[in-house]
């Protein structure tokens, strides 16, 4: 595992892969879009790596 700081060189919110729907479905859409693009919130990624290290 790299010990380097994970620099964010692009916006955290990536461009949508399809048109953003109306507000009523927005969170569901964001969730599915994140899965589709295999994206994960950077801090969730930090916590996931921490959890993986904890169980080793």
């Amino acid at each position: 595992m790299s010990h380097d700081h994970h620099t964010l060189d692009r916006p955290v919110e990536t461009p949508p892969t399809q048109a953003v729907p109306e507000a009523e479905q927005r969170l569901t859409w964001l969730f599915r879009d994140s899965l589709r693009q295999q994206l994960i919130h950077p801090l969730l990624a930090v916590v996931r790596r921490y959890r993986e290290r904890s169980v080793q």
Binding site: L8, R10, R26, P42, L43, R49
Partner: protein
Amino acid sequence: MTATDPEVVLGRLRDLPVLPQALTDLLTALQRDDVAMDELVDAISHDQALVAKALRLANSSFYGLSGRVSSIRGAISVLGLRNLSTALTAAAVSGSFAAPRCRGFDLAAYWRHSIACALCARHLARALKLDDGAAFTAGLLHDLGRLALASQSPERLEQVYDYRQQHDCQTLQAEGEVLGTDHMAIGAVVARRWRFGGDVVEAIRHHHAPVPAAAPTLTDLVHVSDGLVHALDLARVPDDMVPPLAADAWNRLALTQPQCDTVLERTEAELDELCEALSV
């Protein structure tokens, strides 16, 4: 949407809880370099409730000495001056608001998240050699606006929760739509009224959107800590969400994964004990 004055939303400002005068005196005294121990002992001793809290904290397992401290002078020795002030601030603020009667607002979850954020911010500050006392206080108070809203204008906060539910959006967005302001602006008003330092007020005011800076700021620390403890799911809220991360703030802190691992481990390890010590 027209911006609304947070004080208008909050309404009954004069009904806001006041922090104990003894705590205000203590925090003021601690800002001086030449403060004497007797002066600090006097400041705390004027308020028996504060004395009881100081002794309870000094004897809690969180600070590692169970049942040995029986005087304020002893408490200062055990806790240290900076720990004493941050611990008493936490005790005073957590005891200031009665349980709000607001549908959708979970007071226990609120304090658990706030204390987790305070611990995380303190450990991040230590890792980065920044002011850990201010980081703890700002982390503890970062969502103060939500608590003030739940306490002072519960019907308005319920409208926010209803809007969020109906429009499937983040709470911050719902606040803007319903209130014309948000919990950051409201919290800053309360913290300023309670005479917390300008950097703490600034961190509360901007913790979801840190302003550009050349070096890491207290706001950056609270912003990242808030996100990390949401990601850890420490408040045990079923529909908890991790707020968006500001890339600039993250990059300014320049944290490594091993640093994050240590901070997260210590935050998790200390959370239950501090919640218990503060009776929240």
